[in-house]
Every structure is written in structure tokens, then in C-alpha cells.
Amino acid sequence: MQSIDPASRLDAEFVTFFAGAQSFSLDISHVREIRRWSTVTPLPHAPKEVLGVMNLRGSVIPIYDLSARFGLGPTQDNPRNVVVVATIGNQTVGLLVEAVSEILSVARNQIQETPDIRSESTRASITGIIQMEEGMTRVIDLEAVIQCKPKQAA
């Protein structure tokens, strides 16, 4: 969507969304677009959080169920569900979330480190926490989130 001018780097922007009834957020520089949910083609031997692949204007992109990824159970079918299309490096992926809520502008130093928690996998996929008026939002590490796939060469 919009990229951040390096000069205004002080203010980091995050897209926040709900998955498994929890608030998560992703650095806006990763977010390319937000799409309505459409049927995906399931992949063989895929982990449960990989719902399948979707056609994004000719690109084949995998769709991850963010709620399932964080162990919050599969996302329930709901017309409000959307796919956050995000890019990291040369990879384009989609994250299925329950709803996108807002774009959050914060200063970098407002991002708190993830406290020690028991679940290693959750901790590894969360880079930090931002306090919000109502509760908090978890900043996800996109790279870690999508690492749960077989990544060997063909």
C-alpha cells in the first residue's frame, strides 16, 4: 500500500487485526493489500495452519491461518474474514485474519519486548508488544510465522 518515508521512521506504522480473538499487528511496510477471503486450493502434506494456495493476479500465494498458527484454533468461517497479503523478501504470502481493525502509528520506542513466556514458538513469532487504549497488540514476526513450511529444494 503505502511505504514509509525513511525520514519519518520515528513513527512506525502497524496494521492491526484480530485472529483468534486476539489483536496482532504487522509492520505496514510488509502489507501489500487486503483481500476478501476466497476459496483456496489445499496443499498436500501442509501443516494445519497452511490453508492452501490462492490466485493473486496470477501469482500463487500460500494462505496461513494466523489463529491456527498461534495455536488459537482454526479461524471460523465468517464473511468478515479477510486475507492480509504481505511480502517479505521475494515472498508473497496471505494471512487469514478475522478482521482488520486499524492502522496504528507509534514511536519505535513504544514497542515493548516480548516478556518471557512459556511457549517458545509463540515467543519466536512475536517481535514485541504495543500498548493500546484497550489492551495490547502483538507485533508478529512475519518471517518466523511463515517458517513452518517445508523449505527444501525440489
Binding site: V50, M54, G58, V60, P150, A154
Partner: protein, 825 residues
């Protein structure tokens, strides 16, 4: 244009030049070389040298220079093109390619290797004593190094020789070590150095024969970045100059157009060299200026003007002219561009150079050697005139082509969607939109084919590289061998050509190393001691067939079987058919080489080849006759971007299977199905029993009652392995655009890629190789857990190992003892 991009261009052009060099040498080798061919070879080396000089690649320059010298000796018939010389030339061309490659990657090449090649070349020249070339010989080639950061001052003065000189023109203070040739000054051949020219003293000048050079740069001359000063100063080293600028075309100041050159020069150069050599100075600007060289007719200028003939760069006598000439690099525009009207000025009379007959030999080569390096920028003059110039081509960034191909792929999908929507409308058949969509379909196909053709490339460069591999392998093994190539113009997708290089290299080495017998054994068998490796390419019904054959001893099946048994790849006492034994060669870790050579025989050869070919969607087969050689056949798809597929349905999912691997579809009855063991099923078809694979089960979409098998696809994945794939239904047959899964997700066992169907949905393309060869691995991999890390053996294996002869599979095979990480399923 940045330095880097110029550098890139140079290396790109080097590729073409090296290709031309290899081609020319190949023709020389077969003895069909005419002088034009020899000249082409010479030009290629010369142009590489010229370009390399500009980038201060001194090693490359030195080597190319010596190479060129040898070529020149051959060209002027002073050196016979014996087999030994030919061999040195071929190997030197290989080394030159290595040097260019090294220079491109900015690494240095082992100096000893270069020195060895230099010595070899020196030997050709009869310089047995010639040892350390770089150290003690000035190659007379101090080309101007491009320095874009430098101020536009007058650096040229320090660099008297521009490097446009051919080998005929080494400016060297040392006498050439080569004493086997007559002094050029007395022989008049002009093809070798005239080392003492620079020693000419002024009083000799009037007695020296002089050349009159008429030099009129055209606008392109300047726009290509040439500098008349540099060119003229380059003449100063061998002789003395008398320069008379022709200011007749100088316009009135008011009419002055800075973009139009208006200067011409008459240059008298005292030189013993023939015109050809002088012209060689201007070789790189041919087509960019008007130039004539002729012996001076009038006597030298009278002594009342002694300053005229001062050696360059002494100031010129006429003050009016001096700044213009010397400071043509100065920043002020009116001085930089000195300019008669565009094109040859009206007064430019072209003097026909009346060449003394004995001097024409070296001329035609250097004369038209406008330099392939500059060929593309030059207005085509001589090359086209000869009517044999290459077809005009365009160098395009591959990324752009791929973008175009992608867009066309989208168009095809879009077209399919529109067609489907129109069909869904159930309009009467004569409706206009139906005929429009039909036209649209045809246009889209045409467009797709045209775009695909852009990526198609002849296999020629690839094949040419292979002749080098044969030479090296022959040298390393001591088995004389030569390569015969057929069908070099066969076109294949660029990626296929690129990715074939390694497998082909392997196979060619194998053919020489393992395929051919030693020369003595060949003679004993009544064969030519020199082995022949045949490499051919041809199109056959939508595929490219590449065969590599040798006329060696053929496969020794007993030895192969014994080796396989000793390696634990096959159970002892197993009865294998000839074809199955042949296919053992493709097993990982298999090597029959009696002793491991540094060429091949590390046991990684053929299975790697097989995987590489498989990754390109191709197949490899082997056939062999004892005593008369073996043949490997690789069949490959023409393009990697589209594929003919059969749309099938499996467990409610729509999938695509490459049509090339499907032999037939069968609707089996319950009576045709047989259980083997607890879970394996066999399908009987015309008396044969084939393993039956449930695709849904392989992909982890659930297992079904085999009795309900609705449809079986008989597929051929390996030369011998037929298999039946159980699917629900065949829906369609169509061309599909292949979309990779790797970039956004990763490899999936059993799935090679994906495609987009007419309804916009994605369908997976099945990897029949993996499905049929590793069903057990896939099923085990699915075992319970949803996800296995890639390192877990079973899931990692399918892609890397897909070979499985039937007989071998039927036997319980132990793991190989080598402990190599390949499991046999």
C-alpha cells in the same frame, strides 16, 4: 553510461566473441577454414584484447596478444596449421575463455597456468626459449584505461599507443625474441614488429617513406566517445607526424553547430610500415570516419619549416591550430567538438589507396576487423555489405522478457475465464461475442507462441562448450577423442539450455572417461584410436531430444551388476533385465570406474544428471550395445512455461498431470485389482501387473477403498517403470501455464508446480516421477503428524531420488554401506 555498465557490455560482447572464436576454431579443425574464417578468429581475439586493454586487464591482454601473434603467423602462412598447433590453439581459446571469466568475476587466474599456455603458444612460434613472457616482454599494448573519474585533461600524452594496433604493430623497445622470421623492414611483409622505428632521428625523416593519411571524423566518431587526439598521438610512436588540419569546413561562428564536427586532418606519417598497419590504428573507428591512407606523393616538406616534423607531442608549429588539436579534450564545448557539417564534408576527396601489391595480405584482415567489440555500435558497413552478417538482434534484459511472458500467461488465463463465462451464458451459437471470443482465443495462442519463441535459444553455445569438455577429458584421460555435434540450431527454452550445461558436462565426461576404451584397446578392437562422442539435438513432437553417444565399448552389464551387488544396491542373485541393469547407473552412489579419476567417477554423476533432467520435466534413457558404444537420450519439454496437461480430479480437488507422462487411461474392473501384501495393490493389464498408486493417499487427502477405483492413468515415468495412478475422473485436456510454488511457499513432495484454471482457481500439477517412485516414502511421511521438518528422511527424499527399477523395488534392498544420505524406498 557508468563504468560498470561499460564493463558489463564488454563481457557480454566477449561471450559473443568467444563463441565466434570457438566456432572459427572448430571450422579450422575440420580443415574447412578459409582465410575469412581465420580472420574471424583473429578478429575475435583481437577485439577481446582491445576491450581488455581498456579495462587494464593486463594478463588477459598479454595472453590475447600472444595468441593473436600465433594466429597472425598462421594467417600469413608462416606457420603451418599442424595438429599440434591446432591443439594449442583450441586449448588457448579455452584458457582465454577462462581468463575472461576470471576477469569478469574479478578473481585472478593461476599465473603458472597462464604461463604454461604462453609457453605453448611460444613454442608454436618457434620460441623454445621463451619462458616468462609477462615479465620481460613489453607487449606493446598499453591501451588507454578508461578512467571516468579523471578530469578531462590531457592524459593521452602519457599513453602513446592506444592499443588499436594489431599485432603487426607492437611498440616495443626490445627486439622481439622471435628470431626465426626475417626482419620486416627488409622483407616488407609488415606483419611483424619494426622495433627500431621509434629511433628514427629527425634527419632520417625526409628519406623515410611517408604515408599520407586523410582523416575526417564523422559525428558518430565523437558520439561514440572517440578522440581524434588519441588516435593521432597513437601514430606518433612509430614515426614522426606532420599534421595539417583542414579548416576549410569551419563555419562562421554564427552558424557554428557544436554537434557537428568540422575538422579534418591530413597527416603525414613517416613510417616503414605498410598502410595496412597504419590503418590498423584506425581500426576501431572504421565506419565512424572517412579515412584514406596512401603513400606520400609529394616530397617531404622543405626544411624551412623544421618544427613541423617534431616528434609528437611536441607543440605544433602553427599556433592557430595547436590548441584545437591538442586540447580537443578540453571542457569548453567549442573546443571539444570541432566540426564540419555532418557527414563527409564536401571537399573530402577519398583517395583510393593504391596499395603496393605485396602488402595486401595483412591488410584485408585488419582492415575489415572493425572489431566485433564495436560491431553493434557501428553503422553496419562492411559486414552487411558482405551479405553474411548476422541477422539483426536485440539484447534484452531477461527480466523484461519474463515479465512479458508472465503477462501473456495471465492473458491466457483471462481468456480462458472469459471463454468460460461466455459459455456459461448459453448464448445462441451465432452470437457475435462467441465469434469474438473464438478470435480472442486464437490471438492469445499466437501471442503466447510468439512470446515463448523469444526465450527459445539454439543449443549451439551449449554444444560448443561441450567440445571443450571433450578436449579436457581427452587430455586428462589420455584417450584421444573428438566431438561431433548435430542439430546445433535446435532451439530450446533458455532456462533449459542453461540448466542442461551441468548434466551434459557430466555425461560428456562420463562418455570419454567411462565410455571410450583406451586407444590401444580401440586399435585392438579394430576401431579408430580416436574415439567419437556424438552430441545431437532435435525436435520431436513437442519435445527436444538430446542424445549423447560414444563409440566406445558399451556397458559391461556383468560388471555393473556385480558392482551394484557389491555396493548393496541390488540383492545377490537378483535377476535383472538388461534395461534394469542399465538403469542401475542412475542410482545414487553408483560408480563403475575402476579407479576414481578426477574427472568423473565420484559416484555423483548420473543420478545427479537424472535429477537435473527430471527437474526440467524431462526424462533420460540409456541404451547400449556391447562393443560398439552407449547412447543416452534426454527428452525435454520445449519450454518450462507452459505444458500440456490433463485436468483430473482427485479427492474432490482439481489437479493437472503432465500429458507427456500419461500413456493411456483405463477404467479397471474389480477383477483387475489385486492386493499384494497388506496394502500394496497391483493392476493387471494385458497380462502385466503394475503397481497401483492412489494419488489421493500419496498427497495425504485420505485413502479410499481400492475396489472403488474409478479410473486409472497408466503413466510412464522412467524408461521402464510403468505405473497406474488412481484418480477420480479426467475432466479436460488443455495447455496450462506453469506457476512455481517454490518462491512463495516451498517444494511439496509429489507436486511439481501449480497452474491457474479458467475459473481462477489454482490447480496443483502432479509430479508423476515423485509420485510413482516414492509412494511409500510419501505415505510414510504423512504418517500421523501433519508436518514433518524437511530434514526428516522420508519427505526429503522424493525430490532427490526418483529412480526405482521394478525388480529392484520388489526386493528388499539394504541401505548402501557408504552411509550416504540417500534412502532406498
Amino acid at each position: 553510461m557508468s563504468m560498470q555498465s561499460i564493463r558489463d557490455t564488454f563481457f557480454e560482447e566477449c561471450e559473443d566473441l568467444l563463441e565466434a572464436l570457438a566456432e572459427g576454431l572448430a571450422r579450422m579443425e575440420t580443415g574447412e577454414a578459409d582465410s575469412e574464417c581465420l580472420n574471424a578468429v583473429f578478429r575475435a581475439v583481437h577485439s577481446i584484447k582491445g576491450g581488455a586493454g581498456a579495462f587494464a586487464l593486463s594478463d588477459l591482454v598479454a595472453f590475447a596478444h600472444r595468441f593473436e601473434t600465433v594466429l597472425d603467423e598462421i594467417r600469413s602462412d608462416r606457420l603451418d596449421l599442424s595438429d599440434e598447433v591446432m591443439h594449442v590453439l583450441l586449448r588457448s581459446a579455452d584458457h582465454l575463455a577462462d581468463q575472461v571469466e576470471a576477469a569478469r568475476e574479478e578473481r585472478s587466474i593461476d599465473e603458472e597456468v597462464t604461463a604454461a599456455f604462453l609457453v605453448n603458444l611460444g613454442t608454436c612460434l618457434g620460441d623454445a626459449g621463451f619462458e616468462a613472457p609477462a615479465a620481460d616482454e613489453d607487449f606493446g599494448f598499453s591501451a588507454i584505461t578508461l578512467d571516468f573519474g579523471a578530469s578531462p585533461g590531457l592524459p593521452a600524452f602519457e599513453l602513446p599507443d592506444l592499443g588499436f594496433a594489431g599485432p603487426e604493430f607492437p611498440v616495443t623497445d626490445h627486439p622481439r625474441p622471435d628470431l626465426s622470421h626475417p626482419d620486416p623492414r627488409t622483407s616488407g611483409s609488415g606483419a611483424t614488429a619494426a622495433p627500431a622505428l621509434a629511433d628514427l632521428t629527425p634527419d632520417k625523416k625526409t628519406s623515410a617513406p611517408r604515408h599520407r593519411i586523410r582523416f575526417i571524423p564523422w559525428p558518430q566518431f565523437y558520439s561514440n566517445g572517440h578522440d581524434p587526439l588519441v588516435l593521432i598521438t597513437s601514430l606518433a610512436a612509430p614515426g614522426e607526424l606532420e599534421i595539417r588540419p583542414d579548416l576549410s569546413s569551419l563555419p562562421e561562428f554564427a552558424e557554428f553547430d557544436p554537434a557537428k564536427p568540422c575538422l579534418a586532418w591530413d597527416i603525414l606519417v613517416a613510417s616503414h610500415l605498410p598502410e595496412a598497419t597504419v590503418e590498423a590504428h584506425f581500426e576501431f573507428v572504421r565506419g565512424l570516419c572517412e579515412l584514406s591512407v596512401a603513400p606520400e606523393i609529394t616530397p617531404a616538406p622543405a626544411p624551412e619549416n623544421p618544427a613541423v616534423a617534431l616528434p609528437w607531442p611536441a607543440p605544433l608549429p602553427e599556433p592557430l591550430v595547436e590548441p584545437l588539436t591538442i586540447q580537443s579534450r578540453a571542457p569548453e564545448p567549442e573546443q571539444v567538438v570541432i566540426s564540419p557539417p555532418a557527414g563527409p564534408p564536401p571537399d573530402a576527396v577519398i583517395e583510393t589507396s593504391a596499395l603496393p601489391p605485396e602488402k595486401d595480405t595483412p591488410r584485408d584482415a585488419t582492415g575489415e576487423g572493425a572489431g566485433a567489440l564495436l560491431r553493434r555500435r557501428l553503422p553496419k558497413s562492411e559486414d552487411d555489405a558482405e551479405g553474411r552478417g548476422p541477422k539483426p538482434t536485440l539484447r534484452v534484459d531477461l527480466e523484461r522478457v519474463d515479465r512479458l511472458i508472465n503477462a501473456v500467461g495471465e492473458l491466457i488465463i483471462n481468456q480462458a475465464m472469459i471463454e468460460q463465462s461466455v459459455t456459461d451464458l448459453s448464448l445462441p451459437a451465432d452470437t457475435e461475442i462467441i465469434s469474438h471470443t473464438e478470435d480472442y482465443r486464437l490471438l492469445a495462442r499466437d501471442l503466447q507462441e510468439a512470446v515463448m519463441a523469444i526465450r527459445a535459444q539454439p543449443v549451439k553455445p551449449l554444444f560448443q562448450r561441450m567440445s571443450r569438455i571433450v578436449r579436457e577429458a581427452a587430455e586428462a584421460t589420455g584417450k584421444p577423442a573428438h566431438l561431433v555435434t548435430i542439430g546445433e540450431s535446435t532451439e530450446v527454452d533458455k532456462t533449459v539450455v542453461e540448466r542442461l550445461a551441468d548434466p551434459l558436462t557430466h555425461m560428456i565426461r562420463n562418455a570419454v572417461d567411462h565410455g571410450l576404451e583406451s586407444a590401444a584397446a580401440r586399435v585392438a578392437a579394430g576401431k579408430d584410436p580416436e574415439g567419437t562422442i556424438r552430441l545431437s539435438a532435435a525436435h520431436r513432437s513437442g519435445s527436444v531430444i538430446i542424445t549423447i553417444s560414444d563409440d566406445g565399448g558399451g556397458l559391461d552389464r556383468n560388471r555393473i551388476l556385480a558392482k551394484a551387488i557389491s555396493r548393496g544396491l541390488v540383492a545377490e542373485g537378483a535377476e535383472l533385465s538388461d534395461a534394469e541393469i542399465d538403469n542401475l547407473l542412475f542410482l545414487p552412489g553408483f560408480s563403475t570406474a575402476e579407479k576414481i579419476s578426477n574427472l568423473s567417477g565420484r559416484g555423483v554423476g548420473l543420478d545427479v544428471v537424472k535429477n537435473a533432467v527430471g527437474a526440467l520435466g524431462g526424462r533420460i534413457a540409456i541404451s547400449s550395445t556391447l562393443g560398439s558404444g552407449s547412447e543416452f537420450t534426454i527428452s525435454l519439454p520445449l519450454t518450462l512455461a507452459v505444458m500440456d496437461g490433463m485436468v483430473i480430479s482427485v479427492a474432490g480437488q482439481t489437479m493437472v498431470i503432465p500429458i507427456a507422462s500419461v500413456i493411456e487411461t483405463i477404467r479397471p474392473t474389480a477383477a483387475d485389482l489385486h492386493l499384494l501384501g497388506t496394502s500394496d495393490r497391483l493392476l493387471s493389464i494385458r497380462g502385466r501387473f503394475l503397481p497401483m498408486i492412489d494419488v489421493a493417499e500419496c498427497l495425504g487427502f485420505g485413502r479410499r477403498d481400492p475396489a472403488q477405483a474409478s479410473l486409472a492413468l497408466l503413466v510412464e515415468t522412467d524408461a521402464q517403470a510403468h505405473c497406474a495412478l488412481m484418480v477420480d475422473a479426467v475432466l479436460d485436456q488443455r495447455q496450462v501455464v506453469i506457476k512455481g510454488l517454490d518462491s512463495n511457499y516451498g517444494a511439496i513432495p509429489g507436486v511439481s508446480a501449480a497452474t491457474v484454471l479458467g475459473d481462477g482457481q489454482i490447480a496443483l500439477i502432479l509430479d508423476t516421477e515423485a509420485l510413482t517412485s516414492n509412494m511409500s516414502g510419501l505415505i510414510n511421511g504423512r504418517n500421523g503428524a501433519n508436518y514433518l521438518p524437511p530434514a526428516a528422511g522420508a519427505t526429503a527424499a522424493p525430490a532427490s531420488q526418483s529412480f526405482q527399477p521394478l525388480a529392484a523395488r520388489a526386493q528388499a534392498l539394504p541401505q548402501p554401506q557408504t552411509g550416504a544420505p540417500h534412502a532406498i524406498h
